[in-house]
Assembly symmetry: C2
Homo-oligomer: 473 residues x 2
């Protein structure tokens, strides 16, 4: 009996997709119904999605883009002053997280961080002076993402700050991020109290040079391997970086013992500073992420998401096939756990370049590897696994190195396809810190947020227009 | 309608326990059957189990014993020469893993380790001379477990070896273990080549003093907290100790930078030695375990298992209510993954005191926290979770500090009740390294093994006899 005959002899089975009322009516007549979770594409994207799906160019471009994203092997090689290495940071330019932003549009924590950078760079003596100079356009503001850099939360990078230098030995590509300051009152959460500025000066004078020296002594650190190991140890690479921080410190510790740079007390203080901050590795992962997404950018017709970033006012994405263009929407509010007496009323909308971790298959996409993270961002361990499973719906690949032990070493869902987001309605899951909305407050909590659909819908429509324009040309 | 009335009005439900033929007969008549997984107690233990179950003394004793086991907070405080601190190690005594053993009974790896210790202590110039002196009774052999100590694999401790010193600040209790040598050709796996002896001498001259100094500088290290954190980072505390080793190194790293003991090169070498050996933490966990099980020992009538240990020839257990008495059975063969070209034919039977980790709710009992361990010991991540779930059947408590994130932070199954093992037939799961059966070979693999039922059955019968003897007296 062939397949078709078997089908004709079997009991009929009803499969329903979409409208529940039909399934319910059959159910009421005691007919067994298999419901398929299906929704129509996001409104207004139907034609664009059909056009993109019909073109072999898109599939070919996506193959190239995801291959490039997966092949990068970032190595941490040095720490150097931002002004010496980050392109376009000469003169009075400050970098910030997310899509382009003016002082007028900037949220409280972004303003706080910019004010702090003015004080730190000695461009102003008081917060008031700093604010008025910033309002007068005395400093040019530019996204980190336009300068081979990524910064968590406000993501402000000013020329005197030391930055992590991450290289791709295969291509000579390079990317940067600041050094993580720890939790509590820190610049990236918009705090600018004297203790914040003093810490930044110590980071410039001691932390950066000592870690740079240790890295040069111990040699390039293979971050793909280190991150892969950290996932086996319960990190997600975004808000849980305890293992990665430990492995990083293990890798440079002997060099800190041996070094003749700085005093013994300074080197011991550097060791203790990193040891006391389990988020230290976050910025390293972000610099690696920037190297990775830049390698996958600019592949004509590809719908691979190469940037997800928030400036505290807007959430913005970029897609490989539409190059440098940002697709933005208002930054959403994070659903999370709050520190001390803070509540959701104190929270600024979502902020930071750290969603670059989700863009490369980590963070919210790797939460199944990191069940302990729910103590920081809320939810259950089972929920963390479900979030990862959902992300396979909207990604192009399973990462060959970033494996999730509890899913029998399945690779993390990696490489967001904007067309899959629009088609399925499944939004990228991001876990993140929450900044206080007032300048100067700092961190108020941590939680989970979804990227806004509008960004993906606009990107899909733009990509479809490019495709049809080119076909018509 | 009351509960009982509801029952009378409902459809009857058949629940079957035990013999499958009855359930199958009902199933054949289309009656829905709920099968309960039940087996009769292990043959010969029925009367003993009934006697113990009927006595409130046993339940009371177990409450005390498990409370003592759970309340210990071990602190790692120092590293000192075994001969100076381990009780009863003066003169020509060597300690070994597992229950008491003579040279004649000793397996290949145990003989190899004893020969190595003879060479290391300069009591013999050649392996042949060492073997003949050992055969002539030139050295007294005594179990580590009789001397507040525990040692992995052969577990040989000789007077010149440095030992980890773990204290209970609440009681002044103390326990010891050697420092872990790393993998490959090492004494504990029965190797005694010159490189093995040279490493032991370096550990005595450099590693021990430098780590001891670092611990005194950084202060007592709270191991309960450290182990709890390591479980959240994918350790099981037995064969996966990558996180614990990382956290230990983080805790003493600044002191290694600051120290003025030894040369900079020596301190850097110590850092790199620990960094290169992810099993370094195992011996620390074992010393903590020895402190914990000793605190729960000697509670009259308690059926809590306080020792599971193997000498390579026999597997032995001790139970709180029967004090120092060992219940032994032939050591089983481990089912596992083999290194290189080794096969099961090369494997020695199970060996080592490291099953102390399982005795305190870690190792095979905590494998759900450590899915990545299956890459080392074999099996699947789902299987690792199942092993932990099975251990809740035979344990007295869920550990309040050792939590398993993926099980929504449920505490690890802790405190084996020998009566539950005999009653359910569920055997304690141990994950372990595998030594080559020939002296001098070293490690050949790692895998999983079950403790032999005979030990538990004998312990249960012995405990029941004590109870009835006392009642009759």
């Amino acid at each position: 009996m062939g397949e078709l005959e078997r089908l004709l002899h079997a009991e009929p089975v009803v499969v329903t997709a979409g409208i529940e009322v039909l399934a319910a009516a059959l159910g009421a007549q005691s007919v067994a119904v298999h419901r398929i979770d299906w929704r129509p594409p996001f409104g207004g994207t139907e034609v664009a999605l059909a056009g993109l799906a019909a073109s072999p160019k898109v599939a070919e471009a996506n193959e190239i883009a995801i291959a490039r994203l997966l092949e990068v092997r970032p190595h941490l090689v040095d720490v150097l002053p931002a002004g010496e290495v980050v392109p376009g940071l000469a003169g009075r330019t400050f970098l910030h997280a997310g899509p382009p932003l003016s002082w007028e549009q900037a949220s409280g924590p972004m303003r706080g961080a910019l004010i702090g950078a003015m004080l730190y760079e000695r461009l102003a003596a008081t917060p008031e002076e700093a604010a008025s100079k910033l309002a007068a356009g005395g400093v040019e503001l530019s996204p980190c993402h336009h300068h081979r850099a990524a910064g968590p939360m406000a993501g402000v990078i000013s020329p005197s700050m030391p930055v992590l230098v991450v290289e791709n030995p295969a291509t000579g590509g390079v990317a940067y991020s600041t050094l993580n300051e720890g939790l509590g009152k820190v610049l990236r959460y918009g705090a600018y109290a004297p203790e914040v500025i003093d810490r930044l000066r110590w980071m410039e004078r001691v932390l950066g040079p000592v870690i740079g020296d240790a890295l040069r002594r111990s040699g390039p650190l293979d971050l793909r391997s280190l991150i892969a190991q950290a996932l086996q140890m319960g990190d997600d690479g975004h808000n849980r970086n305890r293992a990665g921080t430990s492995l990083l410190l293990r890798a440079i510790g002997a060099a800190l013992v041996e070094s003749d740079v700085a005093t013994v007390a300074d080197r011991s203080a550097v060791y203790s500073f990193v040891d006391s901050n389990d988020h230290f590795m976050l910025n390293v992962v972000m610099a690696a992420g920037k190297l990775i997404v830049d390698a996958a950018s600019g592949i004509e017709y590809s719908s691979l998401v190469t940037t997800m970033a928030r400036n505290g006012t807007e959430f913005g994405i970029r897609v490989s096939g539409t190059g440098g263009r940002w697709f933005t929407a208002p930054a959403p509010v994070v659903d999370g756990l709050y520190l001390g007496s803070f509540t959701a009323d104190d929270a600024n909308p979502d902020i930071g370049d750290s969603a670059i971790t989700e863009t490369i298959g980590l963070g919210g996409f790797a939460m199944a590897a990191s069940p302990a993270i729910v103590g920081f961002v809320g939810g259950t361990a089972a929920g963390a696994v479900q979030r990862t499973l959902a992300m396979y719906e909207i990604t192009m690949a399973e990462h060959p190195s970033y494996q999730i032990p509890i899913l029998e070493f399945r690779g993390t869902p990696t490489g967001i396809d904007a067309t899959l987001v629009a088609r399925t309605g499944v939004l990228p899951q991001i876990n993140t810190g929450i900044a206080g909305k007032e300048a100067g407050v700092g961190m108020v909590g941590a939680g989970l947020v979804e990227a806004p659909m509008e960004c993906f819908a606009d990107a899909v429509k733009s990509l479809a227009r490019r495709l049809s324009d080119d076909a018509a040309a």
